[in-house]
């Protein structure tokens, strides 16, 4: 059983920006860690805080209750830029489990899936309808149904694409390293023939 085995419901934070890069998600000065813990404190550090460290109250993730909202909604090309896996680590540490965006940076999408963070890409019209709903009614609950590849709000629903293997790994709790380790015989055969 993982959290992805069946549909779950939660509220969302709307961050209606395009091309949110991983330098914003977690600025480079926080990359000096040698573990993956505690990065949520620095999530969007420079967008969340003034230079003197006081929080900017109008930043969406600083609104009361933001930490209990498991879904982040963002625009196009979320997570572009650096390959730092600290970005999904910071997001999950903050309490985010799914990101709904128009599209994602390729490396970010891959990193997110390896950390139980679901990237949900939906098309522009669906995105606009959903963003409008969230603007008017921020307490709206969204249902994430990975087995059915669906995102639902009330009677509205949209289907999102996801790599079948990534979906299988999330639902079954399979980790890719374990899967790769089982390929050892094929890897040895390859090395004998080609290397």
């Amino acid at each position: 059983m993982t959290r992805w085995t069946s549909p779950w419901t939660g509220r969302a934070t709307l961050l209606a920006a395009d091309d949110v890069d991983t330098d914003q998600i977690i600025p480079a000065r926080f990359l000096k860690a040698t573990t993956r813990d505690g990065l949520g404190a620095h999530l969007f550090a420079d967008w969340r805080n003034q230079a003197d460290g006081t929080p900017k109250s109008d930043f969406p993730l600083n609104r009361p209750g933001a930490a209990s909202r498991p879904i982040l909604v963002a625009g196009r090309n979320f997570g572009c830029g650096s390959s730092r896996e600290h970005a999904p680590w910071a997001l999950t540490d903050f309490g985010i489990s799914a990101i709904v965006a128009k599209s994602f940076g390729d490396i970010f999408r891959s990193n997110a899936l390896k950390n139980g963070l679901l990237p949900i890409a939906i098309d522009g019209d669906d995105w606009a309808a959903m963003a409008q709903t969230l603007e008017q009614a921020p307490e709206t609950e969204l249902t994430v149904d990975l087995p059915a590849r669906q995102l639902r709000i009330g009677t509205w629903s949209t289907t999102f694409p996801i790599d079948p293997f990534a979906r299988f790994c999330l639902i079954e709790g399979v980790d890719e390293l374990g899967f790769l380790l089982q390929q050892e015989a094929a890897i040895q055969a390859f090395e004998e023939q080609h290397v």
Binding site: D21, D23, K32, D106, I107, E176, L180, L181, Q183, A186
Partner: protein
């Protein structure tokens, strides 16, 4: 089962490399298992990967295919490399120490501080001859695309994948789509590879290459040196593409011949014969194609906070109201607010505080020569700080053998030790909030060069022109008679 290595349809360069590295073919429900020839690691994205290995009691499967360097958070102040580690910041020091310990424990070659060939990971790979045509190369770093300049399929991965490669020498991957980026014609004098790639990114957009691997082709690409091709491939990721390649040719082979890690003797001849079969076949199919006319290119500079917000240096800063689509209007107006720039005004003449010549994009000998050509006989303008940070110890020695350091130091610039430095601002080299830099690095994101930093990305010549005038300046106006 290894797949048939010579399918009979015409293939692209990338497809040939891909096919040859398939350990287990891709199926609908599982990605391919792809073999990795060379794995580069550095201090920032590897510690958690080694920890993941240790937690499962695993070893590094092929230490001989793994190369490490310390580059991101090490100091670049003169005299800091030789002896002990004067890293002021204890977290950074712990990270570099961890890399050293991990390399010792697992038998990985480390080009660390004090090593005579130390440098930025994407500079030393090609320079030492580790990077070779036809290879698959990965690194926990998005600018791994750089190595594509020698005809390798090279791409950035996350730290989980770093642990996969350490443990199995393989990755789970879906076959990418192929995009042809044709640069036709000849580049005008004074136009560099950096101008070409900024023009490509401006045209394709920051997400335009998503899901694709670029192959740069055309006469202008063939005419580039390997150093310049490295600049071109380096920034593929800024257009959303994970990798970018140039087909290997005589320029590539000449560059590689005699490098420390390149094949020698009979092995060289065998390798060469194989490398010559790599270029894309006539009739190979591209999923997408874009063409750029080299003859029309001007020096490029960014005005905003993504690398695609770039324009010819003599254009006016765009007016968001006049942009056709709503998302761009919003993004550009927000960027101009951050940059504190006036829409519709020229960027030429805008004052500059700092000039940074360095990074895996532009810190090789060709780049330093381009910058020096412009600085020679001039001085860094009053109130401007210019940092010149060679990409590796070897580049530094080559530059000093030509006396380039005298040119820079004599003009009032700082001549530094190799490292990432102000590209990522992790080592103390950074802008103060609100300062403007003309930088030869690859990212102008908000805060990339220090909190509140404002970055104009440009070529080494454009950066040097800003250093000596104190303002954004078209380098062509200072280059009369200096092209040879």
């Amino acid at each position: 089962m290894p797949v048939d290595p010579t399918p009979n349809h015409p293939r692209t360069l990338v497809e040939k490399i891909w096919d040859r590295h398939i350990v287990v073919p891709e199926r609908d429900d599982t990605p391919a298992v792809l073999y990795v020839d060379l794995h580069l690691i550095h201090e920032v994205t590897s510690p958690q990967a080694f920890a993941a290995l240790a937690a499962r009691g695993l070893r590094v499967r092929s230490p001989d295919r793994t190369i490490a360097t310390a580059d991101h958070s090490i100091p670049t102040l003169p005299g800091t490399h030789a002896g002990t580690l004067p890293i002021a910041d204890s977290a950074a020091r712990a990270q570099v120490d961890r890399l050293t310990t991990n390399c010792r424990e697992y038998g990985i070659r480390l080009y660390g501080q004090g090593h005579g060939q130390q440098g930025i990971v994407h500079v030393i790979g090609p320079e030492q001859g580790f990077t070779q045509p036809g290879m698959t190369i990965v690194c926990g770093d998005s600018h791994t695309s750089t190595h594509g300049a020698l005809g390798a399929l090279a791409f950035g991965i996350g730290t989980s994948e770093v642990s996969h490669v350490l443990a199995t020498q393989c990755l789970l991957q879906r076959k990418p789509r192929f995009m042809e980026v044709r640069i036709e014609g000849a580049l005008p004098p004074g136009i560099a590879a950096k101008d070409v790639i900024l023009a490509v990114i401006a045209q394709v957009g920051v997400a335009g290459g998503a899901g694709h691997v670029f192959e740069y082709r055309g006469r202008a690409v063939e005419a580039l040196t390997v150093d310049q091709r490295l600049t071109l491939c380096n920034m593929s990721i800024e257009a959303g593409a994970r990798a970018g390649l140039v087909a290997p040719d005589d320029t590539t082979f000449e560059y590689l011949s005699g490098r420390a890690e390149a094949p020698k003797g009979a092995a060289w001849d065998t390798a060469l014969a194989r490398w010559r079969t790599l270029p894309s076949d006539d009739g190979a199919r591209w999923d997408r194609s874009v063409t750029i006319d080299a003859a029309r290119l001007a020096p490029m500079i960014t005005y905003g906070t993504t690398p695609a917000m770039a324009m010819p240096i003599d254009w006016a800063i765009p007016e968001p109201d006049q942009l056709p689509n709503h998302a761009d209007r919003q993004a550009v107006s927000q960027a101009l607010r951050y940059m504190a720039l006036q829409p519709g005004r020229p960027l030429i003449g805008h004052p500059v505080d700092v000039v940074f010549v360095g990074s895996c994009t532009n810190s090789r000998i060709d780049d330093l020569r381009d910058a020096a050509r412009l600085v020679r006989g001039r001085s860094v303008a009053n109130g401007v700080r210019m940092l010149v940070v060679p990409g590796s110890q070897e580049v530094k020695r080559a530059a000093e053998a030509e006396g380039l350091h005298h040119t820079f130091i004599g003009a009032g610039a700082e001549w530094r030790e190799p490292g990432c430095s102000m590209c990522i601002a992790m080592n103390g080299d950074m802008l103060e909030p609100g300062q403007y830099a003309v930088s030869t690095s690859n990212r102008n994101f908000e805060g990339r060069q220090g909190r509140g930093s404002r970055t104009f990305l440009a070529s080494p010549a454009t950066a040097a022109a800003a250093a000596v005038t104190g303002r954004v300046t078209d380098p062509r106006t200072l280059l009369e008679g200096r092209f040879s």
